[in-house]
Symmetry: C2
Subunit: 428 residues, 2 copies
Amino acid sequence: MKLLLKNASILTQDWTVIRDGFLGIDGDTICYLGQDRPQETYDAEKDMSHKLLIPGLYNLHSHSPMSLLRGLGSDLPLDRWLNEAMFPVEARLVEADVAVGTRLSLMEMVASGTVSFTDMYDRTWTTLQEVLDCGMKANLTRPLMAMDPNESYEQNFRVKESFQLVKDIAALNDSRIRCDFGIHAEYTSRTEIVARYAEDCNRLGGRVHLHLSETKKEHEECKQRHGKTPTRWFYDLGVMNLPIIAAHCVWVEDEDIVLLKERNATCVHNPTSNMKLGSGFMPVQKLLGAGVRVCLGTDGSASNNNQNMFEEMHLASVLHNGFNNDATIMKPVEVMTMATRNGAEAQGRTDCGRLAVGCKADVVAIDLDRPHLMPAHDILALLTYSVQGSDVVMTMVDGKILYENGQFLTMDMEKTKFELEAALQRLF
Amino acid sequence: MKLLLKNASILTQDWTVIRDGFLGIDGDTICYLGQDRPQETYDAEKDMSHKLLIPGLYNLHSHSPMSLLRGLGSDLPLDRWLNEAMFPVEARLVEADVAVGTRLSLMEMVASGTVSFTDMYDRTWTTLQEVLDCGMKANLTRPLMAMDPNESYEQNFRVKESFQLVKDIAALNDSRIRCDFGIHAEYTSRTEIVARYAEDCNRLGGRVHLHLSETKKEHEECKQRHGKTPTRWFYDLGVMNLPIIAAHCVWVEDEDIVLLKERNATCVHNPTSNMKLGSGFMPVQKLLGAGVRVCLGTDGSASNNNQNMFEEMHLASVLHNGFNNDATIMKPVEVMTMATRNGAEAQGRTDCGRLAVGCKADVVAIDLDRPHLMPAHDILALLTYSVQGSDVVMTMVDGKILYENGQFLTMDMEKTKFELEAALQRLF
C-alpha cells in the first residue's frame, strides 16, 4: 500500500518547511518527500491542505497506567500524596484497572501527537497488550525495586519479571515494541541487588530506565547513605556501562553531568511534574552545554496531570527563561529536537524521529487553520509556544493511522468508558 | 427568551459541583440553578450531558491586537525583541491591521472559555468596534505614555485620547464594555505628566490599568531615577487613590505589597509571559497572604504566544510549587478564583464571575467526555491541571452564545483569514 500525502507543509529533518509539498509512504516507510509531485504512482492520495506534517513526538518517561489516578490527592505534599493518595489505591489495582488506565493514556497520547513512549510500571504485560492493540511504539520497563534487607537477588520477583519481559518482548519480534531494563531509583534499591542486576544487564546488553535525582531530599539522602551522588552510585555499580534513560535529573551536580556525558546517558526532562510536585528545575542548559542528550517526558498522569507532549514542550520552552531571567535560553529548535529525534535515539530507534526518506512513517498532522495559529510567522516558535495537543488531526505510526479528526481508529472509546466505570466501582 | 441548560454538571459559587443539574437563563441573567428541574416553563432547552458548566474566564491583561505579531523575534533578548521585532512593525500598523489582530485574539479567547478581558493598546476605537461586534465583555484602556521632555500635559495626544475613550464608551451605555484609565508604565512616563493625569482621573473616578515592576531592570532603574519603587512612585503621585489593575508585579517588594493592599489594588499574574521573556516569578504567595486581589492574564500574543487562559491557569498552578520546592503552594481553588470572580471584581463587575442566581449568564461548557479528563476524581484539579482550552464547547456571554462546537457565531473565520492575508501583505 502506497499513500501520498499532498498539499502539506512539511517540517524536514533540517527544520526547514516545505510548503505545498508531498510526502510519500510505502508500507511503514517514508519513500518520498519533496516540493514536486513524485513521478511514481500511489494507491491512494490524501489532501493535507492547511496541515503541517511533523515527526511524531516521543514521550520518554511515563507511568501510563496512572491515568486512572489522575487528580487524586492534588493538594498534598509529596510524601503524603504518595502514602495517602497513591500507594493505597495502587495496592488494590487489578489487571483490568491497569489495562483501562493504560488505555486512557494511549488515547490521550495519540490524540496529541505522541507516537512512542518509554514506560515504567508493574503489571507490564497488561500494558504491553494495550500497546500492541493500539499500534503505538513503546519501550517498556518492568523496574527493579529491592528494599527488603532479608530478600536475596534470587528471591526478588521484580528481577525475574524484568528479564522475563525482555525475553517475551524479544520473542514478539515487533520493531514497534522494545524492552528496557529498569531500576526504579537509588532510594528504593539496595546496593548489592543493583550490583547483581547490573552484571546481568551488562551481560545481556540493552538500555536501563531509571529515576535519577528527582528531589533534593532523595539526592542528599543518597549522599549521606552512600557518600556519593545517585549518578556516581549507579556509575560505580556498573549500571551506566549501559546507556541509561534517566528521568528528572533535577539535582544532578556538575560532576554527575561529566559522568552522564561520558556514558552517553539520556536525561529526561519532565517539566510539569517537576513544577507540580515542587521538585525543582533541571539544569537543562548545563546538560545541553555538556552535550548530554536531553529528551522530554510527561511522567505519569497522577503527577502532571496529562500525557500531552505539547504541554511539556511549551513548559520546557518558557520555564528556564524565567528561572534564569534570560529570554534567550531555550530555543524552539532545541525543544523540538528533544521531543522528536532525541527521543527516538534514546529508544534505540535510528530510523525514527524525523521526516526523511527511509525513515519510518511516524507522521503527525497539525491543523494550522485555527485562529490561535495565525499568523504563522515562525513555524518552530508556533510549534513550541502556540500549538496545542488538540491541534493534532492525524497521528500515524509505521504508516498506519491511529487517530484522525477526533476518532480513535484502533481503540474503542465507549468500551474504555465502560471499563473505566467498572474499575472506579471496584477501587472507590 | 428563557433557556434551560439541563443534565449538566455545574460548578457553583462555593466551588461544589451539582451533578445532573439545571441552569436556567432569563435574557442575560441566571434565573435558576439547582439539582431539580425548575417549576417554571422555558422557551428552549439544551441538553448538556457530559458537560461541566463553569463561570466564564477573565483575562485581566492583554494587548489583543498583538496576535498579528505572534512568534516574531522569538529567539531575541527582551530589548532586541522590542526594538527589532515589535516596534518597527507596530509603527507600520494601520487600523485594518489592528482590527484583524484583535479579532484573532477574540476568536482564540471565546474558543477557550474567556468571556471578558482587560486590554491596553492604542487605536482603541478599532478594538472597541471588534469587541462590540463579537459580543464579549471588555475593559479597554488607551494608556498614557509621556517620554518627550518638551511635551506638556496639554499637548500629549494620548491623554486626550484616554479621556475621549472614557466619554465615548460611557455614551454607549453598554454594560459589557467599560473603559479604564491607563498608564503604560513608570519607565515610559514623566512624573509631572502622571501627576496631572492622576489628578484628572481622581476627579472623574474609575480604575487605572498599568504595568508594574515587570522586569528587575525597570524596577531597579526606577529606584535609581526616583529614589523609590514604581509602586511607591505611583502611590505618591495619587494614582493609587483609584483602584489600579497592575500587570506583572514580578519585582514588587514587601513594602509595595503593603501599599497595594492598602489601596485595594489588583495584581495581574501573567505566568507565561513572565517565563518566556525571562522576567521572573511573581511573589504570588506573599500577595495572597497579604490579602491582595490577584488575577490572571495572558499578556499579548507576541510574548506568550496565546490568549488561552487555561494555559495561564495551568502554569500558575504548577510554577510556584517548583520555584519554592513545595507541592502545596498553589491550590486549584485559588487559581480558579483568580481566573473568574477576582477578574470580574477587578473589572468592577459585581454580578459576574460566578454561576449564581441573579448573576449575568456568562457560562462556559467543558466537554468532560474526553480521555484526558477521565476519571474526574477532583473537578477543580481537573480544571487547573488537565482541561485544555480546546475542551470548551460553548462560550456564552450575557445569555448569548458566541462560540459552540468549533463554530464562531458572531465572527467570520473566512473573512478574518482574508483580512489577515491583506494585513500580512501590507506589513511584510
